[in-house]
Subunit: 444 residues, 2 copies
């Protein structure tokens, strides 16, 4: 069902049919359509949604639209929406809102939920605690399978995930049982007989990215989260983990392009915010590049004697930069997915040097032939440029693979060592190597 | 439990204890340790694993190590391992193996499984069919909830995912029921009363990346896959989707750095394979850069008249390249996560131009002051470089944001329009803009 059909029904005041259509749609798709409508239409349609659906739509929409909605809804409408939301989603919503709106939203929730929300709001922004879900099924070791299924029946419908139940004793996590096992075990067996005591867990203050990686690595649907007293306080589910990983990758990719990361979408970010995210790196790199310029100026005389030397500069600088960023990018990604660690540094450098030798000889050969043909069969020039090419590529690959590993070791984000910075550093090095080789070679 | 402790037990022939330790470990962690051991040790430890664990370890390990293992195991040992593996995992294993090994592995599976395997092997490499799981629970509409739970109890233990059951009629998918609902609904209710008829599904030939994105978008645990006759033939689960998305991102990042993507890990790829993945782009870019060089040579005279012009070249080329790659990277990522589409092209260009104006004026201002101070308070030079900077940044951002969108429209991977190519294209444009402005300005 597309946007145009929905608008048609809205304009025809065909609310009954529209309501039915909306009920059959997935909340995610409704959000997509609502975000393209104007404020008035959006609010009209939102009011037609069933309670549960409204809560999901409210959770999924972007923060600007949500603020419009909050301003338009009455307190009792807002209360109804909040009642249907999961506590962790409520917290996510609150974290993005201005203080006066937060107050209004908190007034619209009941006392018990408010206590839970306040507890979750305490966790640092990127911690596991901030994305965990406080609703899960906990069982006791002495329960039978039948008891457990009965408990799930009674409370399960309100939980986002009930496929893994956690067994606790005085709030400490002592085991877990998959619903799969509950369903296939005999009804009279006791939980402690079938529970798995080897439970993977994370802590409230762990980095959310690490927790998401654990979920991915072990193929989990959820991971339990314990606090500093080792008490079970929540779970992080696989769908949240997927979003965390996507955001972290987007952040890495931004940094790799010399753009400060940004939580909002491309279009959701203002011109000035975009400019602010991009200018610092550009400024730094622009000023660093003047060093290369000064060095180039220093070799003015050599270029006056042999003007042809100028024409090879873009090619050498380009190739050096590209070689370096190939290596740094592969290492940055390898670090991000956990394939490479700092302890591998010498293995990496040795590997990159060998790769650089193979690559550079091919490049030097092709380039040598081109120069030989284009510049009056000047063999000396071909050889000088060939040697420069080999030196530049080997240097570029060494620097390109080493800097991200060093950054990691120093506790910096390896992604800052991607193309922009590497390229600027290599530009200077390339010019130095180039002119040192050619001035020696041609005695200028 | 670390590698060193395991090796100690192995050397002390303390097999009984080692076996117990291995049983308490997660297969993923065992794989990590095995991959660091030598062949003989690896095979010894593998033989100590319990059957089910052995199958999981065998599935998770990298293909080189797996081949070593296959060569070492007897036919009956291999048969035992294969029996415990899920069909989709078997297919993944087979796809990476040389033909003679595949024959040996197929001989080690029973007739029924072999038929399933052969069917799965038919699907194209990146299709949903190739990663789907053929084991799932199907229910009939006339079953009661009690019948359904009974069925899950009987067959469920062998299925990788039983949390969503699919309702079929003559093999056609007509609805789905979450195990959550089965547990919370009355036992005598019929499946057709509680099933959800709005089922999201994908087709066997759909791109696996699209299927993974659907799973992420809707927060699913699994999605059913139907064939060309609309019959349900399998499911794709969230853990496989996460791996697909990670691989696709790694592929994108590789391409963005001018490296042909590669399914193996960094260390798992040979020197020559690495060189082969990197050289084509470098060669192409190196040869393209000669165009920039030639153009630079063309302005030799201008530089002879005003040698200071040379010193600004690295800064202008660097800034142009960085600006362009900032824009192209953000657009490529926006396209990858579905935030930006081709139809947004004019909105994007308009936005980038405004961003470019803000950014370039800041850069031009800082740079102008620097030049004014460093080059004998030459106001003309400051202004000429300021104008060049603004022109270069605006041009870089326009080209940087447009090319990935055009690539997408033409059915190419937008990631090829990242830093390396953009930078090379922009180098030429920057030189042209720069010398056109300064030669006009200073009448040279």
């Amino acid at each position: 069902m597309g946007k145009s059909q929905i608008l048609e029904m809205l304009e025809a005041h065909n609310y009954k049919e529209l309501k039915e259509v909306l009920e059959s749609m997935h909340p995610v798709d409704i959000v997509e359509i609502l975000e393209e409508l104007d404020k008035k239409q959006m609010i009209l349609i939102f009011r037609l949604l069933a309670k549960e659906e409204a809560a999901e739509v409210f959770t999924d929409m972007n923060s600007d639209k949500r603020e419009d909605l909050i301003n338009a809804l009455t307190d009792s409408e807002l209360e109804e929406v909040m009642e249907e939301m999961y506590v962790d989603d409520t917290v996510d919503v609150l974290e993005e809102m201005p203080a006066n709106v937060v107050d209004r939203l908190l007034l619209a929730t009941d006392e018990e939920t408010r206590v839970k929300i306040n507890a979750l709001l305490q966790y640092p922004e990127d911690s596991a605690g901030s994305i965990m879900n406080v609703e899960y099924i906990s069982l006791r070791r002495e329960m039978t399978v039948a008891d457990a299924i009965l408990k799930i029946r009674q409370v399960g419908i309100n939980k986002e995930t009930i496929y893994t139940c956690y067994v606790t004793e005085k709030r400490h996590l002592i085991g877990m049982v998959d619903v799969k096992e509950l369903l296939t075990a005999g009804e009279s067996r006791r939980i402690e007989e079938i529970m798995d005591e080897n439970v993977l867990y994370a802590r409230t203050l762990d980095d959310q990215e690490d927790v998401a990686k654990t979920i991915k690595k072990y193929g989990l649907i959820a991971i339990p989260i314990i606090d500093h007293e080792n008490c079970l306080v929540g779970i992080v589910t696989v769908d949240d983990a997927m979003l965390v990983l996507q955001d972290e990758t987007t952040e890495d990719i931004s940094i790799m392009a010399g753009v400060s990361p940004n939580e909002d979408s491309y279009f959701g970010t203002s011109i000035f915010k975009h400019a602010g995210n991009r200018t610092p790196w550009l400024m730094l790199l622009m000023l660093s590049a003047t060093v290369t310029g000064e060095i180039l100026g220093y070799y003015e005389e050599a270029m006056a004697v042999m003007p042809v030397l100028i024409t090879f500069i873009p090619m050498l600088m380009g190739t050096g930069g590209n070689c370096g960023s190939q290596s740094s990018t592969l290492i940055i990604r390898g670090l991000a997915v956990g394939e490479i660690q700092f302890k591998d540094i010498f293995r990496v450098i040795f590997k990159e040097i060998r790769i650089a030798l193979v690559v550079s000889m091919m490049l030097a050969f092709v380039n040598g032939i081109r120069i030989y043909i284009m510049y009056g069969q000047n063999m000396m020039l071909s050889v000088a440029l060939g040697l420069t090419m080999i030196a530049v590529v080997v240097m570029a690959k060494c620097i390109g693979c080493t800097l991200p590993l060093l950054a990691k070791k120093l506790g910096l984000d390896p992604a800052i060592m991607a193309a922009p910075l590497i390229t600027t550093i290599l530009d200077t090095c390339t010019i130095l190597v180039y002119f040192n080789i050619v001035t020696t070679f041609f005695g200028i």
